[in-house]
Symmetry: D2
Subunit: 482 residues, 4 copies
Amino acid sequence: MKTPEEYKESLREMRPNIHKFGELITDVTTHPATKRCVEGHARIYEAAQNPDYENIVTTTSHLTGEKISRYLSLIESAEEMTANLRLKRTMFHLTGTCTGGRCVGWTSLNAMWATAHDMDKDLGTHYHERLKKWLTKAQAEDIAVAGAMTDPKGNRTLSPSQQEDPDMYLHVVEENADSIKVRGAKVMIAGVAAANEIFVLPGTGYKEADKNYAVAFTIPRDAEGLTIVEATHPSDRRELEEGFDSPPKTGITQAYLFFNDVTVPKERVFMCGEHRYSLNVVLNFIMAYRSAIGACVAGQGDLMLGAATLAARANGLTEKTFRERLTKIAINNETTFGMGIAAATLGKKHPSGVWICDPLLSNINKIYVAALPYEAKVITQDICGGIGETGCMPSSKDFYNEKYGKLVQKYLKAAAPAEERARIARLIEWLTIGAGVPGCLHGGGSPGGAKIVIWRQIDLDKFTSLARKLAGIKEQAPVAEK
Amino acid sequence: MKTPEEYKESLREMRPNIHKFGELITDVTTHPATKRCVEGHARIYEAAQNPDYENIVTTTSHLTGEKISRYLSLIESAEEMTANLRLKRTMFHLTGTCTGGRCVGWTSLNAMWATAHDMDKDLGTHYHERLKKWLTKAQAEDIAVAGAMTDPKGNRTLSPSQQEDPDMYLHVVEENADSIKVRGAKVMIAGVAAANEIFVLPGTGYKEADKNYAVAFTIPRDAEGLTIVEATHPSDRRELEEGFDSPPKTGITQAYLFFNDVTVPKERVFMCGEHRYSLNVVLNFIMAYRSAIGACVAGQGDLMLGAATLAARANGLTEKTFRERLTKIAINNETTFGMGIAAATLGKKHPSGVWICDPLLSNINKIYVAALPYEAKVITQDICGGIGETGCMPSSKDFYNEKYGKLVQKYLKAAAPAEERARIARLIEWLTIGAGVPGCLHGGGSPGGAKIVIWRQIDLDKFTSLARKLAGIKEQAPVAEK
Amino acid sequence: MKTPEEYKESLREMRPNIHKFGELITDVTTHPATKRCVEGHARIYEAAQNPDYENIVTTTSHLTGEKISRYLSLIESAEEMTANLRLKRTMFHLTGTCTGGRCVGWTSLNAMWATAHDMDKDLGTHYHERLKKWLTKAQAEDIAVAGAMTDPKGNRTLSPSQQEDPDMYLHVVEENADSIKVRGAKVMIAGVAAANEIFVLPGTGYKEADKNYAVAFTIPRDAEGLTIVEATHPSDRRELEEGFDSPPKTGITQAYLFFNDVTVPKERVFMCGEHRYSLNVVLNFIMAYRSAIGACVAGQGDLMLGAATLAARANGLTEKTFRERLTKIAINNETTFGMGIAAATLGKKHPSGVWICDPLLSNINKIYVAALPYEAKVITQDICGGIGETGCMPSSKDFYNEKYGKLVQKYLKAAAPAEERARIARLIEWLTIGAGVPGCLHGGGSPGGAKIVIWRQIDLDKFTSLARKLAGIKEQAPVAEK
Amino acid sequence: MKTPEEYKESLREMRPNIHKFGELITDVTTHPATKRCVEGHARIYEAAQNPDYENIVTTTSHLTGEKISRYLSLIESAEEMTANLRLKRTMFHLTGTCTGGRCVGWTSLNAMWATAHDMDKDLGTHYHERLKKWLTKAQAEDIAVAGAMTDPKGNRTLSPSQQEDPDMYLHVVEENADSIKVRGAKVMIAGVAAANEIFVLPGTGYKEADKNYAVAFTIPRDAEGLTIVEATHPSDRRELEEGFDSPPKTGITQAYLFFNDVTVPKERVFMCGEHRYSLNVVLNFIMAYRSAIGACVAGQGDLMLGAATLAARANGLTEKTFRERLTKIAINNETTFGMGIAAATLGKKHPSGVWICDPLLSNINKIYVAALPYEAKVITQDICGGIGETGCMPSSKDFYNEKYGKLVQKYLKAAAPAEERARIARLIEWLTIGAGVPGCLHGGGSPGGAKIVIWRQIDLDKFTSLARKLAGIKEQAPVAEK
């Protein structure tokens, strides 16, 4: 398995194709716009070497029996799914941020594992063998694999082929014996700057007319024809500077990937036109992803719990003053974690060997993931006061200014020294309204989409039948269509 | 195992000692104040005979290897705890109501199983053997065992021995070689009218000065010196009448048990003065109970989901009109169920063999159990309209009145016939503001108490340490005591 | 102005036409099913004689300059609308319950005052003069006037004339020079048992095809052809008994009014076929009613605040323990009261002289009225404990039972004596899950309906234009229809 | 009255004493760190000249009868307080941001007007005359007056004189016949960069030992000895650049004001040691401020309503899809606005002529102001999608990059052109997680503080007495102290 330094070296060896603020980034491991993201992912490689975290971060390959990164493992049981959740919560503890440059790829390969199996069985294709080969090599090389699903989507009321511009969803534009060519984009993709490869899945289910959009594959991040532009977030210009205004050394990036007729060799292609299986792989992905994402949210909540406590103490107050509110954060954290555990526990094994989480509970967890972190943020800001709510303090440049820095320091101290208090407040700012805010609302799909899946899972026929019996109603009520 | 009829017969054989409305109830199986409660519990015996529910309601005795009621089983794994949750959700589906005359006793015996083991190991007592004997017999006879914890408590700021009246908590007043005598009361005890025996536990933790209050035992429901008075609820006078105003044939009772120097033979005593173990058994109880109660709440929510759908249809509307709100009920149902599953999954095995649910998640589930059902009720009433909200319809006596009943019927019909619509509305009334409202707020303890347990479980030291690292703070912030 | 005794006498003089539980009620002032409702309304007459409340309950007629009941006054300014809110909050304080037998009629006459003026102006009718005459007499006689709007409605997706049964909405079946004949029903009508007359309004807006349903008039409660049946609520059988289980002496009734070709003389008819004005009078009603109803809810909340405090003290706890939660009740109370005040303040004067409350704020207040009381109820039950949540105590018959009443009393006492504590718990039960629960969800119309009115009031064009300017967008975004 | 240009000229004439990022700002009207704040306030001067807004932004001086800026007026009635709310909502519409560089000073002078009157009457001081003179001149010169209350506060559990460093609250260090000298700081002060003067009030109530901290005065923003450092917020480095990433041209600043023995001439001093009046002026301020701030929040909510609608349309969706959620934003907006109107309406006139808003409702509004905007933000982000939630798009530099800008543009277009869609998303980012997020939680004081004031206003004695009467309890329950 790779050391953090070997991992960084592997990134440095790649062709530069990532841009931000109009410029090409030549070394993602040192450029201020990407180094925090790389640092976050490097901590995974670090933890794998650390006996304290080894069991959490690594596991045994079901393919080779070798020790591998858990991020490249097949999830075959509720216990392993639970291990996924523990890993995510732990990594959030260690980095303070999303490490989406590995976890989405992980979920993608598991989702594809089941669908490839289904396709092969139904259609006589050979996708599963290809995927197995790719995975064996990926495990051996211990690569970081990002995952990409979201298409630009254009006009939301039109299907891909109805769009004015046919490229609004990624699609196959050419196919020959050895390879395919794809065009389009995948947008808002997390952690690409820290990844060696990208696992690309279709963004949704497709019908016959859109079958060219049903395509899944892996590619190196620096593939020819792939242009990457990082998104800018409100506070990322601050990250370009030194000083303690961006307290953690970690971070996450979200990229726009533009595929200009990128060639993908067939051995990396796992779906190509089988539109009936497009929704299938998406749902497989969703169930695992929405179960586990609650652990990330719990991890972030744990940090808010810690930071809010430190803020109270820095102001001279005991955390008991805020017991009701801190307890509320804890309740929320355990809710998104617990619902993920429940979705794992109530799941079932797919014939391919993959564990499929419960569709109802995993989607319900998405609803909580999209809602509860906002409560934790408000509470944390509330406890910290104005200096946490909007980071309402002079910058570290002012803090250390020769002329008036002493005044800034004099008046920022409270029960804690000035710098400590300022750092806590900046951490809270970062966690609640800064670069540390993960996209809980839309990450892993919108709550609106999750509600549709939930609705379809409700067994209304059963419940109306039970209610009728209790009410003593014999004849059936006129059934309205669902 | 007993048939429903044998079960009812066993109740009829007992000494009448239950009262309501100032009168002694001579036959609990036919008296209108208790027959609905008996009927609810009889459905458990019925289900045990029904192949569809057999696996849910029965299991194998770890003591004898015989088929027994699950309500008398030891819960030895997360899977069996999950089976507990499924059983509770199912029984709510089949009865529409609490069947606390068995489930509290079941939880009590499991909680006692672990504590008896601990006491024996630490103190050289022989409680565990006694309990085993009692349980073997209970399983063989397939008896219904209620559970009793809540003391009257008097002035809430005083400990038992500080109370003006020492009987405000149940206590031992005499002990000899073969038996003890107890005095005091247990209040708001569910399903006693449907029980053969009662499992009595201490209500809270006690200190040295209150050691006589640390007492646990089982007694027959008709023990000498035990006077029972049933509580009255807003709508229970309606239950004394015929007609469809109380749609389900089932129900639950809550009793006040007055112990006037009741003699308990030693072989039925499982704690007697070991005050240090008093909190222990209470916590064991709480963790199992608060995990599983979410399944009851889910079951009731399922019925509201069904009833609300029927109400919409009865008014001529499709349930799609209310998709957002019905989905909310489903989310709530799966939340209390899922958090219980998670508390089970994250639990651990006690040396005595009993499975102990996770203390953090089980108590968090109590918070949801105390809050979410209110949302479901509002939504259900909202969808049904005024006739469900406060049952705003003439009575069944008016509905069938010779003179003007036809007018009532003419104007109550909508898309559904009048009686069907009225029955649905009465069911919703019953579920949301009538006799079918279970005491989710205080049943299994108050949310306030649960929050205290949660607070004590939060690992603030860990979280503040993680936050400090991310913020780049080296020295430790001044620690305020928790 | 009438004394309470004269008021009761006026009710006794009327023809008995009210039924409940299959029986005709011959004297509404003494029959247990209606006397509490009469008692509640009698307290209005009492308060009018009490110097402490005189200014709240009475005012000066704009017609005659005489002192009249405020319930028969025209509301001509924001100040008088504010006086309406104060009156409602006060009457809830004095009765603990809805006094809908006067307030709905009051709102109806004000709504009709404006619409009659509009019709006369537009169509040359003479409704306004008729209404003025009726009101002058009503004021002089100080009668209690209930109001009736809600039709049975049958299949909710069909208009009145499309229904299988044309009587599902009240309609005119015959008209001649001096009178009209109406058929149909009005359902869930509050306080009819305590009223001398009923002000009937159309239930919604109608189109040309349904013009016969656009009808408004007043009739004596005992008009020929009018059959009245009272609805039964979960706990009203308890009200038939003595004892403290139903603590207040007051209450409210909801009736089903069946109009079997009832003749209404023309001088009492204020709309007859003018379907275009039907929605108009409904909206006039809604704006006033939904503003003011927040004061009733605030009044009920005040009582829960008081009762919860008493419950805490009875248990030996200071209310400070529950400061956060009691404050929440207070916030809710002032919210429904304050939003009503704001709707009044931002209203405007109609050419007829009537004050029309702000349509946006009054409908928003309906949303709060439908939601906030549930929070107050949960908090109140939470503080009181199980004996308040579901009234989990033996009945007053058991409390005073010769044989075991002393046991009940012994164990119900806490810091307060047993009866006092029991009465507080029964009051809380009554307020939160008993007969004292007003129909806040559907009373004055459903929140769903209110949301539609709110949506139509939002000035999206203005807000999108402001947003465009701030975003620096010049060309207009493609406008989707609202 | 000043034109916008004259206003900016007046700022340019002042001594530079404002710093940010370690540098002195020489011209606040052009420096990128302050020019947006100045621009926001300049729009007030612009609106005063615009006939459409003239009545909103200007009024007549009660001192001179001249037309003056409303921001320098005395608020003498509920109507004028309502005009205050309308002004604030309008200015938020026109600027998208807080214009705290005028509104806090306005509220301060009104609060001081009443307290100065009280002190003069009780103590024979002459503060009121001084204030009148100052105000007359301020009105004549049409100056922008910021307001400063919040002290650094150090250890929150210690009073000012108990602090290790006595300067943690602003205090008088010297007094002579003509002037005083003050030392300390005021922190997180809005809009100072756009102000000509600052109105300084004590931050809380003080006791005898802290009487030197009871001090109120006005000073020019560029007074000798006053050093100002602006706070940095997450996204303000972006504001230093060109391009559309910071869509509005407006903004707000928050400053730390360091008073190094600043001399204040006596004619500008309105409190100096009268510690008993310190809480009085704070409460006067709070009641007006917390009533009116709901209008700012409503104004911001209106913009979110507009922006969310544009975002839906840009994606090809009609806003009807989001009716329920957009309605929720509108409800929230009208709630903070309406509760402010109610607090104004239920207020009363102080003998000095100032209108004092209702203490209960104004503080309740603070609770809503601290909570409801978060809901609006989540909804707006939800509707917009990931590009609004965290502004997940490439920067404007990438958008216009020669090499790959066309790709960015190609894939950002939807139903709206790419730039329009990007600008809408950036506006939403700005409003919900960027520089446009106002500090609703702590601005105008924390919700925790507001709850304490609310608790003290609740008339528990009255409510318990009413509850006792209804419950039929004669003797008084044991009264626990509040």
